[in-house]
């Protein structure tokens, strides 16, 4: 189904007025694609019927939010990013008595387990709390369980090695019936919670904030709001890490931050 610009704005308004989900700051081209994709998946014959369902069925809204947001993720996505974390950030964190890390837009949690493995191998996990948040409760349920398809492990163990993994990746999980479960030792230091970057406030002070492949879906204004939120939530000399195509450069905050040497999208707060 093709959704026209005006129709898209109707859906955005419906979701906000009726259910309190504010997608008005999302980049329109991808939002439009997501709605069109959903209408196609669920085989709506017309826009009117699609909209009617959204307006009348509060249960369906859960599915809408799940499908409108892009939840694609993997363990050790962009392995070189994790190499940079190991080389440039972990040694600094090691000097702190206690470490708080916020993973915003963590999706189904692969990123949180990757981070936990990194910290574990640096012997820092025991003194760290990982706050893993997302707008989407369904993906957080998956994250909490730490159960993923076994078929993905070949790719993940390659990523793990490319990310400077020091151990035997298969020791971090147990496999059963086509699925793997990551060791509870890794999730013991994680706190999962819904948090909406559009509307929710800061909830703690962190030494590291990682928010990857979330801001590409936001327009400039919303990106700026989120940068302020992160700035308010980050300790001085803390680190912000973004996805490989995202930048703090144009945020009006760049003079408060210094990009790290590695060439990865990691900044340190210097004032």
């Amino acid at each position: 189904m093709q959704i026209a610009d005006e129709e898209l704005e109707l859906l955005v308004a419906d979701l906000h007025d009726r259910y309190g989900y504010d997608f008005s700051g999302y980049a329109r081209a991808s939002l439009k694609r997501r709605f069109e994709r959903l209408a196609g998946l669920d085989k709506f014959p017309s826009f009117a019927e699609f909209r009617y369902k959204i307006l009348k069925d509060p249960v369906y809204i859960k599915r809408v939010v799940e499908e409108i947001t892009v939840n694609v993720t993997e363990m050790f996505r962009d392995p070189h990013f994790y190499l940079a974390l190991r080389a440039e950030i972990l040694p600094v964190l090691a000097t702190y008595p206690f470490i708080r890390i916020w993973l915003a837009g963590v999706a189904s949690g692969e990123e949180a387990y990757s981070m936990a493995i990194l910290l574990y191998e640096a012997n820092l996990l025991h003194k760290t709390l990982i706050y893993a948040t997302d707008i989407n409760p369904a993906v957080l349920d998956v994250a909490r369980k730490g159960i993923y398809p076994a078929a993905k492990m070949k790719q993940y163990s390659e990523n793990y090695l490319a990310a400077g993994g020091k151990g035997d990746f298969s020791e971090y999980y147990t496999a059963r019936y086509g699925y793997i479960k990551l060791n509870e030792e890794l999730s013991r230091r994680m706190i999962f919670s819904t948090h909406n970057l559009v509307s929710d406030a800061t909830f703690n002070e962190f030494q590291v904030i990682i928010c990857r492949n979330v801001l590409i879906y936001f327009d400039k204004t919303l990106q700026d709001r989120v940068f302020h939120l992160f700035n308010d939530s980050l300790d001085i000399f803390g680190f912000i890490a973004l996805g490989s195509k995202e930048t703090l450069k144009f945020s009006g905050m760049s003079d408060k931050y210094k990009v790290l040497k590695s060439g990865e999208k990691i900044w340190r707060k210097i004032s």
């Binding site: 980049a27 329109r28 081209a29 892009v70 590409i216 400039k220 195509k245």
Partner: protein
């Protein structure tokens, strides 16, 4: 259709290709006028990031035009040759900026040519030209249908000249109005657009 029927007035050309398309592009680039008043957007299937920066360097060596990998929310300017980054779909916003999207692969591809053809067509309409080159799958065909529906100009590489004819061929099977392009006509075709 003859090349001279294409008047100027196009603002953007999206070039999609897969296996066998790089050589066509590299051969054409030196003959493309560097200060063309149109933006060139290249969406090629790549293996990985290293592969892509190699491609950017290679293309740079062939032209005076600015050749760059697309950054998110970057304004689309004429006279620049933009390359899709690996592992992201490239979308066009109404205010003529790019946005990137790491959602599911389309036709086993990310970037997908379909996605960019369709998204650019919605914004540029009849001032868009789409070119589909050699490739081994059927990405691009659906996007060209959408582009056609928005009155974009369509050119497809002659499958007989394509190292991998499947992609141009599957597009020709479903698209209605298009120009057939010989590889050596690509530069002239683009120069005539603006």
């Amino acid at each position: 259709m003859a090349e001279d029927l294409i008047g100027p007035g196009y603002q953007c050309v999206v070039i999609g290709g897969s296996a066998g398309s790089i050589k066509v592009l590299i051969d054409a680039l030196p003959a493309i006028t560097p200060h063309l008043r149109l933006a060139i957007v290249v969406v090629l299937h790549r293996k990985n990031a290293a592969d892509n920066s190699l491609l950017v360097h290679l293309l740079r060596s062939k032209t005076l035009m600015l050749v760059k990998e697309i950054e998110e929310k970057e304004p689309i300017c004429s006279g620049i040759c933009y390359i899709a980054p690996p592992d992201y779909h490239v979308l066009v916003e109404k205010d003529r900026t790019f946005s990137l999207d790491a959602s599911e692969k389309v036709n086993f591809s990310r970037p997908s040519i379909d996605v960019t053809f369709e998204s650019a067509a919605v914004v540029y309409g009849a001032s868009l030209a789409c070119v589909l080159l050699s490739g081994a799958n059927s990405d691009g065909a659906h996007g060209l249908i959408m582009a056609g529906a928005h009155n974009a100009l369509i050119a497809i590489q002659d499958p007989a000249t394509a190292e991998m004819p499947a992609m141009p061929r599957s597009a020709m099977n479903v698209v209605e109005n298009y120009h057939i392009l010989q590889p050596e006509q690509l530069a002239g075709f683009i120069n005539n657009l603006a």
